[in-house]
Amino acid sequence: MTLSRRHFLGAGASFALAGCAAVGGEKPIARVVVVGGGYGGATAAKYIRNWDPRIEVTLVERNEFFVSCPISNLVLAGTKRIEDVTLPYTGLGRYGVKVVRDEVTALDFDKKQVRLARGESLPYDRLIVAPGIDFQFDKVPGLAAAESSGRVLHAWKAGPQTVALRRQLEALPNGGVFAISIPKAPYRCPPGPYERASVIAQYFKQAKPRSKLVILDANPDLVSKKGLFLKAWSDLYPNIIEYRPNSELIEFDAQRNVAKLQVEDFKADLFNIIPPQQAGRIAQPLISVNNLWVGVDFQTFESAKVPGVHVIGDATAAAPGMPKSGFMANNHAKVASDSVIALLTGAPVNREPILTNTCYSFVSDKEAVHVASVHKWDAAQKTVVPVAGAGGVSTARSALEGEYALAWARNIWSDTLG
C-alpha cells in the first residue's frame, strides 16, 4: 500500500496546478475537436477532459439528442419508449466539453480545421473523427426509392425511423408477413438483427399470433450468438420466426413489395431492410480499407492515411474478431483519449492497449444473452486480437442477464454522456 500512497500524494500536487490553470481561464495547452457524438465521440470528449483538463475539447454533433441504438429494439417491440433511449448532451458540460450543434461539411487536414455548415471553422491540434456508419442505399437497385418514400425503413440508426417502424408493426394485420433483411458482414451491431427478430416475434406472439417473421440473411449463417438465438427461436417462437441464410437482397421492387434474392423472389407485407454500410461519409478522405472503412493503428487509433487524425468506433476497419458495437466504440475512445493526451503532452504512448466488449441481446422482453471478448495488442501481427481462452457467450438465456443488460445500458450511457 506504500506505493499507492505515494502515487496518491504526487497526484494531488499536479492536479492542484491543473485545476488552478483551468479555473483561472488560462490558455489551454492544446485543442482537440471531436466529430460525432455517438458512443465513441462523446466518450472521447469526456475522457480527454477528465484525464487532462488543460486540453480544450470541442464536440461537434448535428443532433440535439443522443438516441441509443442499443435497447432501441425494445422500442420496436413496444416494451420501451423512444424517450427511454434518448439522452441529452448537457452532462458533458460538467467536464468542460464544449458541445457545438452543427453539421461538419469538411475536414481540412492542411489547415487543421473542421468546417461547419453554420458556425466558424474549428481549429485543432489533434482531431478525433467518430462518424459511425452511413448506408449504401445505391448498392441495391430500388432501395433508395423505397427508403425515401418512407415505406421501407432501416431503423438501424435509432431515432424517428425507430418510432416509424414501430407504427408499421402495429399496423401490420394479424397474419401479415414481416421480413428483416440483413446485409453481409461487417455491419453495425452483429447480433442486433437477431435480437430485433426475437423481440418483435414476442410482440407478434402476444398481439398477432398468426403473423410470420422471416429473416433474410445475406450471410451464410447467423453472424453472432448462433446457438443461443436458434434455441430461443425454437423454444419461444417456433411458428413465427423463419430463418433463411444466403438471402442477400439484390434488388427491391417497392411497387409489388418484393425482395429479389439470388435464388428467389420474396414477397412480404412489410419489410425492414438493413442496408449495406460503410464508414460515415465525412470520413471519406480517410477511408483506406476495401473502399469502405478507415484503417487505424490500434495503439493510438491514428488514421493510417492522415497523421494527427484519430478515428474511432464503427467507421474503423475492425481488427480480427472486433465487432462494430457501442461498447467497443466506448473502449476505442478510451485508448484513443489516452494516446491523444500522451501525444499532445509528450508522454509515452501506452503500447499495450486492452479493449473489451460485452454485447447483451434480448431474446424476449425479460431474458437476454451475451457475447464477450478481450482484445490485446499482438506485436507480431501489429494489431489487437482476441485473447485465446477468454471471452465467450452465455450458457443459457436468463432474466438475470436481462437485468444486467438494462443496467449495462444505464451505466454506459452515464459513462458516455457524463
Binding site: 492536479f15 478510451k334 473489451t356 443496467a407
Partner: protein, 97 residues
C-alpha cells in the same frame, strides 16, 4: 482549505494521475460498472473497494472459482495477474460515491 475539500481534491487527484496503463485498462470496465466503477442498477459498484479484495475476486473469476459468474470469468481470463492487480488498484483509488 477545509479538510473535506482537501480530501475531495486529493481523491480527484488520484483519478487524474493514477498509473496511466492501469487507469486506462480499468476505464474499459466502466461501460458496465459505471465511470470510475460507480455503477447503477444490477451491476456491482466497484469504486473505492479494497484493492486486495478486488484483486482476489478477479483472480477467483479468472481461476473459475466463482460458479455463479455470468460474464466476469470470461473477461478475467483475458488478463495477466499483474494487469488485474493494477486494475484493482485503479478502482480502489476512486471514491465510493
Amino acid at each position: 482549505m477545509s479538510t473535506a475539500l482537501a480530501a475531495s481534491l486529493s481523491l480527484a487527484a488520484a483519478a487524474q494521475t493514477a498509473e496511466r496503463p492501469g487507469r486506462t485498462w480499468a476505464s474499459t470496465c466502466a461501460a458496465c460498472h459505471g465511470s470510475d466503477g460507480k455503477a447503477q442498477g444490477a451491476i456491482p459498484a466497484i469504486a473505492g473497494r479494497d484493492a486486495e479484495q478486488l484483486y482476489r475476486t478477479l483472480l477467483e473469476f479468472k481461476n473459475g472459482q466463482r460458479p455463479a459468474a455470468t460474464v466476469m470469468h470470461q473477461h478475467a481470463k483475458g488478463y495477466a495477474d499483474d494487469e488485474l492487480r493494477r486494475i484493482a488498484q485503479a478502482f480502489a483509488a476512486q471514491s465510493a460515491r
